[in-house]
Structure formats: C-alpha cells, structure tokens
C-alpha cells in the first residue's frame, strides 16, 4: 500500500481481505437517526454497490467512510466504528485531511477545479508537497492513462478542464482521485448525469481499476449495480436489509423487501 492512515491500530482488526470494516454504526442528523447499527465489510479489489430508495442512508454511510459528514453541523456518529486497514477513522489522532486523501471521492456532478487539465490531476500531489516536476508529470500521465483519458487530452493538458465534456470531466475527477493513490474510492451516483457512452466508459474504468483499489458506488441504477459491482448492499430507512454477492441479490435475494425494491414493486 502506498497510502496509509495514521498508524494507531485498534481492535477489531479487519481480516486480510477486508479494506473497510463497519461495525454497529449509528449516525444522527440532529435528533434524527439516519443509520441504525450498520455492520458490513468492504473488500479489497472489489466494487461494492450501495442501493436503496432516497433517504435510506446509503449516501450518508458513504460519506461516513471519509468523514465528509463532519462538515455538516449537528451530525454525529452516536455508536459503532469504521476501521480502514486496522485504523479507527474516528480516533482523535486521525488526520482528516489525510483520511480524505486515502479515501477519495467522486461526486454525482463532476467538479473539476477551474484550472488546467494538468493542474487538476497534479493538485493532490502538490498538496502533499511534491515539487519535483518530473514526478508530477509522470503521475499526471499515469493517472490520466488509468482513467482512460490520456489519448483524448494529451495534446491539450494546459487547457481548462471546464472545456471537457461531462463524461471527460467525470473521468478527470477519477484521475484526480487516483493520482494520490488512495486505498478506497467512494463514488456517489457518478454516472447519473452522463449519457450511456460516457457511463459505459466510467463503468469500464471502475472495472479496470478495481484491481488496485476498493470501490464503493452509490447508485439508483439497478442495472449499473448489477453490471459493475461484486457485492451489493440494500438499505432501507437507515438499516442494512441485505448484503450479499451481487449475482445473488439480483437473481435470488433472501429478503422480500430487497426483491420488492429491485424488481420495482416497492411502496
């Protein structure tokens, strides 16, 4: 692993193939409980999809993994823990900025900085204090190649990232995320604003990159969850209803509520 969290391991230690271990997690927005005793493991080199109706808590859980919810006043984890590579991310010694470098995030709407394509990808490295131009050049090219964007932008690296198409911007955001070699990549409905071709490119990218990272993707698109993920977790009203192998979830779910949701019988 090239990226690490602050080294202060505490129990429970996740098993070897587990990247993120979530245990009995409860989370509140003020007095409203958004997550209820969530326990699940996210596995290395796998894509895990979070599905469920709006308001079920899937995005809240995603944002707990890199403590993005800390930015919202009145929110708090009331119980439980999240361990990433043996580190309790709520330990006071954890540097949240570093955590968010180790746990990158791609949002629903692409959000490139109003800078050049090159500077967008180089941003994380510069924040880490890397100054060697050769090192940055190499990292930018590697990241853009990994994000399947290099051939499309190699001759205009100094042009504004805002001039790229929506799909290219989203892949640029992925390149920016992986440039700092995170452990985990969180994706919150990354294709909801993209056309089918751009969506397919992002899905292909996730599939190619999962050998190097742990992916978690929140999606409302059941076909996307079925296509791109190895495991799927179904949430309803803040509870984890079912978590299983994706093929199992979409062919023979154990829980009736899951089947009602994925087959469009809900409500």
């Amino acid at each position: 692993m090239q990226a690490t969290l602050d080294p202060k391991p505490s129990s429970p230690a996740p098993s070897a193939e587990v990247s993120v271990a979530i245990r009995d997690l409860c989370f509140n927005y003020g007095s409203s409980q958004a997550l209820k005793d969530i326990t699940l493991d996210l596995h290395k080199h796998e894509v895990t999809a979070f599905i469920g109706p709006s308001g079920c808590g899937k995005s809240t859980l995603l944002r707990c993994i890199n403590r993005m919810n800390d930015e919202i006043p009145g929110t708090r984890v009331t119980k439980g823990s999240i361990h990433i590579e043996d580190i309790n991310i709520h330990d006071p010694s954890v540097d949240v900025v570093k955590l968010r470098r180790d746990v990158g995030m791609v949002f629903q709407k692409s959000n490139p900085f109003p800078k050049s394509i090159y500077e967008n990808v180089a941003f994380g490295l510069r924040m880490r204090g890397v100054k060697d131009k050769q090192v940055i050049d190499q990292a930018v090219e590697e990241s853009l190649r990994s994000a399947a964007l290099w051939d499309e932008v190699k001759d205009r690296l100094q042009e504004s990232a805002l001039g790229l198409s929506g799909g290219q911007q989203q892949r640029l955001c992925i390149a920016r995320t992986i440039a700092v070699k995170p452990l985990v990549v969180l994706m919150d409905e990354p294709c909801s604003a993209l056309d089918p071709i751009a969506t397919a490119k992002v899905e292909e990218l996730v599939w190619q990159l999962k050998n190097d990272y742990t992916f978690v993707i929140v999606t409302h698109n059941m076909q996307q969850a079925a296509r791109v993920s190895d495991r799927t977790a179904f949430f309803y009203m803040g509870e984890l209803v079912e978590y299983s192998d994706t093929k199992r979830i979409f062919s023979n779910p154990r829980v009736r509520k899951t089947e009602e949701y994925i087959s469009g019988r809900f409500g």
């Binding site: 076909q223 062919s251 023979n252 779910p253 009736r256 089947e259 994925i262 087959s263 469009g264 019988r265």
Partner: protein, 236 residues
Amino acid sequence: MPPMNQQHIFHELDKTMNALKDSVLLMASLTRQNLERSVNALLNRDIDLARSVIGDDTEVDELEMKIDQIGMDILLRFHPVATDLRLVITSMKMAHNLERISDHAVNIAKRAKKICKSSEAIETTIIEPLYTKAEKLLRDALLAYTDANPELGQGLKPADAALDAEHKQVIAMLSGRLENAGPRAENLLHLIFVARSLERIGDLSVNIGEDSVFLSEARDIRHEHRKSPEAGESQD
C-alpha cells in the same frame, strides 16, 4: 421465498408478465389436449381426430414463438431481476419443451393415422400404461409450474424411471412379436415409435419440473445425478 403477489409500480410490466403467463398456460393446455387426443385417435382408430391433432399443432408452434417474443420484449424493455427474471427464462424454456411434447403428440397422431389406414388388426392397448404414466408426469410437471410447487417438480424423477422401465418392457414385447408378425410387422413398428414418443414426453416433463424448481427456489437441479459423488465413482 414465497411468490411475489404485490404488483409492479410500472403496471405495463405486470400487463406484459401476465400476457406471458397466460400464453404459457394456454400452450400447456393445448399440448396436454393434443397428447390426449393423439392417443385417443390411436386407441379408437379415429383418423379424423388424428388429422385434427396434426393440424392443431400449428397453434402450439405459434404460441412458442409468441412466448419467445414476449420474453424478449420483457428482457429488452424492463430488465427484470430475481423472480421476474426467472419467470421469463423458465417460461421461454417451458415453451420449448411444450413444443417438443406437442411434436411427439403429432408423431403419435401420424402413426395412428397409418394404423387406421391398415387393414391389419393391432393391439394398441399395449401402450395405454405408458400413456397413463407419461400423461401423469406431464400433468404434475405443469402443476409444479403453475402452483409454484418445487417439491412436486423435484419429485418427478422416480415416476420417469418407472416410465422408462415400462418403456423397456413394451419395446421388448413388441420387438419379440416382430419376428413372426408377417404383415402386422409395420403396425408393430408404428407402436414402437409411439412408445418411444411417450418415453420422451416423460423426459421433457422432467425438464419442466426442474425448471419449476428453478422458478420457485432459484436452484438448478439439472444433471444432479452427475454431480453426486456416487455418480462420479460409478462413472470411473
């Protein structure tokens, strides 16, 4: 998991799924009817009945194509999952098995027609026990599917084994009579082919039973005898 009773939010999917189920039920009913009428034509030397079975098979063929079209339509438009997906897959497979059963009914009707035209008397009642077993197998397989009864669907193999044993006996008996049959030999050969069709109908019914287990429980029980350790040892 028990079958889903709740309707889909998108009612067009329910409407299309119901059209699929109705077509399968109609095809199953016509196929059973064709089998029954073909054997009656043979037993009662009813050439008109035999001709009508042969003619009515077209309707079964058309239903097979209609079921495939509806299935494709559902896959294309609605991307079904879980029980819905299994229903589409098993319905299309069931249509294929039913079409082949109806083809066997046509084969029986064609043999019946030839026997009717022959002036030689032949003891057609020999095949009655075979028909009784094959017809019950088909009935139970269809019930397993329509009533979502996986136990019934999984339990068809012993009945099919009994049908196979009966088939062997009938073939041995008819073959034994062939040597000295003289002009009756042709009719005996027709009966051998009828027996063969009834035996195949048993096999196809077992396929439907296996598909009904997949539909209800998402378990693939096909070729299970080959997967068992005992079977592996015996093959060695």
